[in-house]
Each structure stands twice: as C-alpha cells, then as structure tokens.
Amino acid sequence: MSERVQVAVIGAGPAGLSAAIAAASAGAHVVLLDENRTVGGQFRYRSEDLLTDVSGEMASSPVEMLTQKALQAGVRIRTSCQVWGLFEDKVIGLEFGDSSAAVEAERVLLATGSVDRSLPFPGGSSPGVFTARALQILLNEYRVRPGRRFALIGEDPLTLELTRDIERAGGEVVVTYPNPPADLAASGDGGVNRMIGDGTEHRIDIIVVVAGRLPDAGLALMAECAAGYDEALGGYVPKVDDAMETSVPGIFPAGDCIGICDVSTALAEGTFAGICVAASLGLTSIDEVGAARERYVMATVNRAERLARVTGSFVQVDREPMGATAE
C-alpha cells in the first residue's frame, strides 16, 4: 500500500461500504479497510430476516451488491487489515498479518461501527457466556452452534432475532429473562452448565447477554475529535457539522460509531457522508451536499431527529464514568 491515500474508509459494514461507493463514484480515490476476513460488517452475521428486509430495498444480496458496486466505482478493498491508530495529520496505523504501516490520508471516513455492551453477574465471565453478536457470528457466520440449551438475558428487539437464530440452528431457548434477575448467577466446571434466576435453577449450556450496543468511537477520540455523551445515541460519540465533518478537519464519521442506528440508516448515512467527503475534496458541488442531506433526511422522520443529535455543537464534555447514565 502506498504511503499516501486520498480517502481511507475504515470499516466495511453498511456505512463504510456505502460511503466508499459514494465517494469513489464522485471521483475520489478510495481505500476501504476492514479488520475482518471479509467485508460486510453486521451483514456477515445478522439473521436471514434482516437480510431479507434490507434486500427488499436493494433487490439482491446486500453484501454482494455493495461489494460489486464498490469495485466498479474503483474502491480498493483491503480485508484482514486492522487500523490500530489515528494520529495527527490523519496518519493511520495499519496492521496486516505480520506487518505494520503508517499511511497518511487526505480524508478519513470512520465507519467503525459498534461493540456489544456487557452485563456483569457472578459467573458471567465463564466459558459458555457470550454477547449477542458473538453468538450470531458463531451461528450465522461460522456455522457453529456452541451448545444445545440456551438462556437469553436482556430485553432488546434482538432477543427475538436471536431466538429464531438459535432455533434454526437446532438449539433450544430454555429461558429468557427480559430483565436480569437480582440473583442471576452462573456456574459449572470448565464452562457454565447451571444458571440461577429468580430462585430457579436452569440447566443450560450457553448464556447470551443481550445488553445493547456501544458506539466504537475509539479512533475518533484518539484523533481528539470533539465528542459528547448522549445516551440516546449509545454513549460518548464524536460530533459532526451539517456536512458530517468532525471538529478535526478531514475526519468524517458515519453509522453506529456516532450513534447506534438501524442498518437502513447506516447505509443512507454512509452515502451522505461519502458525498460530503467528495465535496470537501472539490469533486462535488456544495449544492450536491445539500441535495444529499435532503435525500438522507427525507427518507424517514427519525433521520431528521438523528441528524439533529449527531450534529450537536462542538463542546467538549468530560467523559462520563463507565456505566453512568446521562439525564
């Protein structure tokens, strides 16, 4: 890889793929980086139902279609390539296999997504306890069912999706607790096989913690982008202006990393941010940014609300302690 790139898109999930396509289609030279073996982000492991929903809007397998579009637009895709740092002058630290490199990017588009929240309870770190996404990766991507009898802890629309995934894989959901019981505890030698909840003992092989998602904003924070705590967005997130640029010129985030959102929103926001990046390079007119914002916002009511939230003022706030809730 050369030591300078025009646009580096970090993360090849829905937001990153659509951003790379939009920027490259406007004439930018785009490199799309992802730490995983294949592109797709949550498309790799979310349930068939979600893929069908999104395919309705997109007419074919989303990852395949987005990948083809990206390649046709001239995007260079690098997988198994982890970005471990974002420094001054938009220098990014890369690791691939046994080597490492520093690459300077004129523009950085962060689409680093989100990670699972955790839930502490006695025995909750034992083998056999997984986060929701971990289980979906095992079941739907790696095609491995890690046990037979499952317990689900947490209330989230995702518990329904997980239940279907488990049952399709031939597993059994023994118990679901929408709210973690006060006496929740797991035990077992060399991995969980018993769980206590509300005074009842359950024989289980696997416990799945469904505790929501946390924006993965590490690179933006490392680059000292102004950020704020917003519980509705999922935590401490970088703020953007109305053209999706952070307080650090040349850094544009999109998707879950600036606030947890659904897949359709991530796709649309990626497209908008990609056009903003192209405009900042003089490849697209400012009018086109306005039109793109209009298209992004008009799709659904809650997009306007989201845009208002993510474009908060550039006021640096103190980071909330772990587990704190904002009013």
């Binding site: 073996r37 997984f130 971990a134 079941l139 060399g190 096989n193 092989d205 696997i206």
Partner: protein
Amino acid sequence: MAMDTELSNAHGATRIPNPSDRLRSPSQQVTITFDGHGLPAYEGEPLIAALFIGGVRVLRTMPRTGEARGGYCLVGRCSDCMVVVDGVPNCRACATPVHEGMTVETQHGLGTWSAGDV
C-alpha cells in the same frame, strides 16, 4: 505435550449445515492439536470455531485468580480467547485462521514466549 484438558462435548457443540446463500466456500480439512488432542478443522476458518467443535470450552486461565475464560465477544476486543499458537502466546482464537498442523495450547496466565521468538 501436556494432556491437561479432558475434552468432552456434553454441551453439544456442533456444526450447522450451511443454508444456501451463506455457504462457506468449502476448504480443505486439516488437523490441528489442542493440548495434544488431535482435532479436525477447516483450513482458514477462525481457530475458535474449530476448538468449539472439538468440545473445547476453556481457552485460557486468568493471571491472578486462575479463573477460566472461553471467548466472549468473538470480534477481537475482549481478550478472553487468547491461546498459545505454535508456541506464541496471546493469540486471539477468534482472529487467528487455522492452518494444517497448527499446535494450540491453553494459555495459563500471561503466557510465556518460546526461546527465539522475541
């Protein structure tokens, strides 16, 4: 080679047949070892998948408490799945692709480096 792990699959870990559009391109079957036990695996698949199918649950023990860990997030963030691969400690089983003859061991504590690796 220490055989300190008894592999039982009472919990019923199993491979799931592939649905049509998520077919993992069939790759070559290879053999790896975990704490001396031979395990079948597919070339290039994430190591943690092969270990789970082989009945392995405990991947590491913690430096201070000795408590067992066996993978939690599967996306390379939590450090719970670190094992010793071909003598190199702190390899994330979720992010390490399998190769023929790979030697894997439970990691105890922080792990130790083989002479010549540093």
